[in-house]
Every structure is written in C-alpha cells, then in structure tokens.
Symmetry: C2
C-alpha cells in the first residue's frame, strides 16, 4: 500500500505546489515510485511538469467523477518513477458535482484504494481553501504536510488548519496524522524568517521538519521550463533542500 500525503494549507502562496512538485521529483530520484495528483483547479502542478490539460487527455476531474481510472490518467514524466494525474481549470466544476454525491468527502479515498498498490507514495497538491477538494485530499491521506511560509499571516492560518484537520480526523479519517510542518521561503537576510521559525518550533517542536526550504529564485524559475528544480538546476539550494526533505521522509518510513 502506498503512503498518501496531502500538501495542504488554506493560506495562499505558501509553497504547496512547489513542495508537491519538487518533493515528488526528489522521491522518484531516490528510487521511489510516486503518483502526483493535481487537485487544484489552478493546475500549477500540471504546468510545472509542462502538462497543459486539453480535451484529449483525461484529467483528475474525470478520475473524481469515475469516468477514468487512475491507471488510465497517470502520465509518466521525468524523473523516472514519477507519474502525474493532471488538472485543468475545469476541475472547478468537479467541486459542484461532488457536493451532489452522498459521501462526497470520501470519493478520492475510495478511488485510491483501487489499482494504486504499485506506488510507494501518492502526493496530492491542494488549492488555497478548505473546500471539498481539500477535504477529499485530507480524507484520503495517511498524513498531511503543511508548508508554512516564514511570514506573519502564516501563523494566523495554522490554528484554523489544525482545527479542520481535527474535524476530518474525527468525522472521516481517524488515522489522519500530521507528517510535519515544512518551513518554506526562509530568507536568512530577514529577521522575520527567524522569528516565525522560532515561534513555530516553540509551539510545534516535534512536528517541524528538520529540513528548511530556503528562498531560492531557481524554484520559481523552474516551472516556466516545465521541469522540477532537480532537472533544471540540480546543485541549487532549492534542489538540495527538497532532496534532503525526501531523504528525511524516507528515513522515517524505514524506522
């Protein structure tokens, strides 16, 4: 059985997509078989791999509504071992469709119990909201990675997200755990980064990943080349940080 990880935080622009894209690539580069699901109608994860959805290829929208299986929608993409279920902005319509279904929160969870055994990891990129797409990801997930930008508003949103995770755990997914809080866009030149990091470690010590993702322009350049940063500039600080995160994650599994 694969390990299912949701990358979630309703605060916008904190590095959810950047983490989903680059963690999945780093896990694949470490020899794992990874399924990456773009569950955000912005479809930034898809475009980060150079995939622009069109009517010809099946998307996550089709998978959610049972028209296509995961197997038939997953696209293999470099690095070796990485498979992507892409999205387009039409995914917004799935939100409306899902709300009509009886146990709408568990639709994805049921889908991922079928024909996914060959994967080691399934990673789900979420939109910046706590709507039905994020709820489906949290209900399907074993654990949640919470990217947290080292900025003031980030701390404010955290309690809201932790509250939502507790509700999902109580109602739909009793096994749901927090994999960790990932500090992102850490800027050594800026004292705000240090003070937010200190605050987070004070309140959530055990939950914070040892790996910290630095602010690194190569991470924001690589999507325009349709590649994860590992394949764009493998020696840059951003690529090294996400490789380190992958190793930290794998080491936890092997304990």
């Amino acid at each position: 059985m694969p390990k299912v990880l949701a990358i979630a935080n309703q605060k916008g622009g904190v590095g959810k997509t950047t983490t989903a894209v680059n963690l999945s690539a780093s896990l694949a580069a470490s020899g794992k078989k990874v399924l990456l699901i773009d569950s955000d109608p912005q479809a930034n994860t898809s475009s980060s791999y150079g995939v622009r959805g069109s009517n010809e290829i099946p998307t996550f929208y089709d998978v959610l509504l049972g028209k296509v299986s995961v197997k038939d929608s997953a696209i293999s993409s470099p690095p070796h071992g990485l498979f992507l279920v892409p999205s387009t902005p039409d995914l917004v319509a799935a939100e409306v469709e899902l709300l009509k279904i009886e146990s709408r929160e568990s639709v994805l969870r049921k889908i991922l119990t079928r024909d996914c055994d060959s994967y080691n990891y399934i990673i789900i990129d979420c939109p910046p909201s706590l709507g039905i797409l994020t709820i489906n990801a949290l209900t399907a997930a074993d654990t949640v990675i919470i990217p947290l930008q080292c900025e003031y508003f980030a701390l404010e949103g955290l309690s809201q997200l932790l509250y939502t995770i507790r509700i999902i755990k109580a109602k739909f997914n009793p096994g749901l755990l927090i994999e960790g809080i990932l500090l992102t866009m850490f800027d050594r030149r800026n004292k705000l980064s240090f003070s937010v990091a200190k605050d987070v470690k004070k309140h959530f010590a055990k939950k914070v990943f040892r790996t910290i993702i630095p602010r690194n322009v190569r991470l924001s350049e690589s999507p325009s080349h349709g590649k994860p940063v590992l394949l764009y500039d493998q020696k840059c600080p951003g690529a090294l940080a996400y490789l380190k995160l992958a190793k930290e994650l794998i080491a936890r599994e092997e304990k």
Copy 2:
C-alpha cells in the same frame, strides 16, 4: 456615491491583503474617507489593523446576512478617515448561507447601496478563490484591482480571472471594469521579475498601473504590529509605493 473597488485574484499569496490594507490607508492619508471590507475568512485584513474578531463585535458575516448594517459594524482605525468591517474565520459559514439565497451573487451589492454615501472609496479584500464571496465582491464593485506577483504562475492564473470577470460582467454587473493590474513583490535583483513585468505590459499595456510595488520586508512586518505600513515605517519603499498608487488612483478620478 463611493467608488467600490474589489481586490481580487484567485492565485494565492500575490498581495491582495497587503494591497487592500495599504491602499486604503494611503487613500485615507490623502484625505479620502474609506471603508475597507474584509471578505476573506482568513481575516488577514482585520488582523493587519490589530482587530481580532470576537463574539462581542459585529463582523462582515453579520452584515452579509442582514443582521447588522454597515454603519453599525464599521470600526474607525488610524489613519483618520479609515473604517474597517472586520471578519473572523466564521465567515466560511456565510458561504454556505449565501448559497441558499435566491439572488446570492448580488447580496453585497444591495447592502452597499444603503448608508454608504459618505465614503469616497469602498475597498473589498477577497479570498484566494472564485467562490461566492469573490463573486459578491465583483458584483458589487465598480472596478477590480488585480494584484499580480512577478512570478511564473501569476500569468497562468490571469486568463482564468479575466474569464470570470467577463462572466460576472455579462450576468450580474454590466458596469464592471478592470481598474488595473498591479505588479507586486517586484525584486530588482531577480530577472524573473523583469521578464514577467515585460510580458504583462506586452499583453495588457493600458491596464497596468504605472506604480509597481517592490518586494520590501517592512510590508510583511507591519501586520504583526497591527498597523498599515504607512504608520509603521512611512519612509520605506513599500509605504512610498502604496502612497504613489493612491495618488495614481485619485488622479484618475479627477480627470
């Protein structure tokens, strides 16, 4: 009649709240009377003015559901001339309530036609989604300011937002116009900023504000002091840029 401006972009973390907070303060400092509405359940605009919603004070949720008037919920806050209708995360519940109402898209528009004549400007901060709260803001607005981070994903989301604005204009608000695209977090050290700015100006020349907001750490520090940047560090590049934006906006009205 006040001019109603929605600050909208479904892409997360692009500077919607920072623009709503600091443009409204700069307009007030330029002698205008401004009503700032926090229409995002993250309530970052409210906390930027040091207002943490509680059960004792009326919020935008109460206004939307007709329990309280704008007049009775607006809190005056420095600088002189600025009034805030605050929010709390409970605003999420208003999304569910609104969906039950007949002409749910125009609820805010109707509310703002009453007892708002004394304001020069009404500014509405939107959440990072194109859901019912953003649709209400776009239906109530005269114009929309689109903050656009100088990053690759920003351009991708723009066509989606422009498409939504066209639909709102056709269905609910024929007078809706784009006030302008505001380039935010522009970093002179980073060539990606220059290439995104060039692209945007190429495609939307007339619509791009002359004022560009630089990346400036003082803008992300001021919310933790509960003040707009103008009252935190009035000589910093961020404060000067938002003052310039206010002047650019006022000059357009006076033409």
